[in-house]
């Protein structure tokens, strides 16, 4: 099962090459480009701007996600993506620091080759860091796919995504460095990065398969969060 070779020659757990660059747009307050293989997303953060939108709590900051597809108008799927991203980002940002403000995140899809939503979440997270929006921690997102025959693959391409029985988008907190001892930083006996921020599944899968997904996703998220930290650091280094 582990020896399954995919069309692009990757193993089941192998991610596509990652690439992240920040501060690429001149007028946005923060921006980032995130690339996973051929999937590429550009995220721009504007704000915090004065005032919240209608029906939002003015005692907290409001987060607004605008999804721009590669072409055409936005449909139901994009609306759903916007909502998922909004909820995810709301939970990692500290909303009480800038009450009665709105932060807009514009997500532009440059190319979609599978695992689009996780890629967008990663891009938005890097853009929020670039804009200096106060955050509790970072988030890393990963896509897991379950095939008919029961094997799991990570970070699928568009073709693989279409041939799969079901798939799960998982968002995890990043692994943090801490001066505390290992035991002190545990939350309910488990390290922070084992928590889960968002989980979206499509299609049917058994509970066991889902737990298996979580396990694989966690392992991959460690790699992703190392990459995110490294790329943030290298760019901060060049700034100062």
């Amino acid at each position: 099962m582990g020896e399954m070779v995919r069309e692009d020659g990757r193993t089941a757990n192998q991610l596509r090459p990652l690439n992240c660059s920040r501060n690429i747009l001149n007028r946005a307050h923060g921006s980032a480009r995130w690339r996973q293989g051929d999937t590429e997303v550009l995220a721009a953060v504007y704000g915090p701007k004065a005032g919240t939108k209608k029906n939002e709590n003015p005692e907290k900051a409001c987060i607004e996600v605008i999804w721009k597809p590669q072409s055409g108008q936005i449909g139901k799927l994009e609306k759903e993506y916007e909502m998922i991203m909004k909820k995810t980002l709301q939970s990692i940002c500290i909303l009480t620091v800038n009450p009665n403000t709105t932060t807009s995140i514009v997500v532009q899809v440059v190319h979609d080759d599978g695992a689009l939503l996780p890629c967008a979440v990663n891009a938005a997270c890097a853009a929020l860091v670039d804009a200096g929006i106060p955050m509790k921690h970072l988030a890393v997102a990963i896509c897991c796919c379950l095939a008919e025959s029961g094997y799991l693959i990570l970070d699928p391409t568009k073709l693989e995504e279409q041939n799969m029985k079901s798939l799960a988008y998982l968002v995890f907190p990043n692994s943090t460095t801490s001066v505390c001892t290992e035991e002190a930083s545990l939350v309910d006996g488990e390290p922070m990065e084992h928590g889960i921020i968002t989980s979206v599944t499509h299609g049917v899968m058994l509970v066991d398969n889902y737990l298996h997904c979580l396990e694989r996703g966690r392992a991959a998220s460690a790699k992703l969060s190392d990459f995110l930290r490294k790329s943030l650091k290298s760019q901060l280094q060049s700034d100062s």
């Binding site: 923060g30 860091v129 106060p134 460095t177």
Partner: protein, 244 residues
């Protein structure tokens, strides 16, 4: 506390930190006072980071995260450059690149009374001081120092203003004088006002000097001290060769 920091193997001071990193464990340091600056928050028994940047520590007990952004978050006693956007009976509304517009009371000038309210046009550039900065209220500005003197605050006439990042402003204001300003100052005479909100105003006798100074400052944002000196030197060499 110094001792504690040095024994702690994972001390993060002067390291680059990202949101979520825990920099201090309060449970292990009883009866100590620490002061937290921007980019840090207390989360139960630990101090964690909320912005990416370089963690700084100043003796005896101050911690903050240094980072550069295009957006400004007002804080008390910052000197900023603001643009007047509206004039009301009691306040001027001033844009200081923050989340909301700032109020500049019409009496917050040296010897300000109802009789001598200054007249500013919409779009006027002011050098002001932040006196109140509560997150849920509009910030309040003043054109006087703490003792009520005008002290260089007020309208900036003529000249040229450009926007950059808060990191560049902090670099320009750092002491000793940053190399780009020092080297420019040796060759040209100019006036400069730097706001911590990332706005810089330059004025000189001739427009060409203004352009040179503004350009050199904008170029220096991501350069080291030595690179800045080389950049300024090259700039002057180029100008000399083109004028001859």
């Amino acid at each position: 506390m110094e001792e504690k920091l040095s024994v702690s193997p994972a001390s993060l001071v002067d390291q680059l930190v990202v949101p979520g990193d825990v920099i201090l464990d309060l449970s292990s340091m009883a009866n100590q006072t620490i002061k937290l600056g921007g980019g840090l928050r207390q989360d139960g028994d630990v101090i964690s980071v909320i912005k990416a940047g370089k963690l700084r520590f100043s003796k005896p007990n101050k911690y903050w995260v240094e980072s550069s952004h295009k957006r400004y978050v007002p804080s008390v006693e910052d000197h900023v450059l603001g643009i007047v956007v509206d004039c009301k009976a009691d306040n001027f509304l001033v844009d200081i690149k923050g989340p909301s517009l700032a109020f500049l009371p019409v009496l917050a000038f040296e010897g300000g009374t109802r009789r001598n309210i200054p007249k500013f046009q919409v779009g006027a550039l002011l050098y002001v001081r932040v006196v109140k900065a509560n997150p849920s209220m509009n910030p309040e500005l003043s054109c006087t120092d703490a003792s009520g003197k005008a002290a260089e605050f007020g309208l900036l006439k003529d000249g040229y203003m450009f926007e950059s990042s808060t990191g560049l402003s902090r670099m320009l204001l750092s002491s000793p004088t940053c190399p780009v300003l020092e080297d420019l100052g040796k060759k040209l005479s100019f006036e400069i006002a730097v706001g911590l909100n990332g706005r810089v105003w330059v004025n000189a006798d001739s427009p060409s000097s203004i352009v040179i100074v503004a350009k050199a400052i904008m170029n220096s944002e991501f350069l080291s001290a030595a690179q800045q000196r080389i950049m300024v030197k090259k700039l002057f060499d180029k100008i000399q060769s083109s004028t001859v």
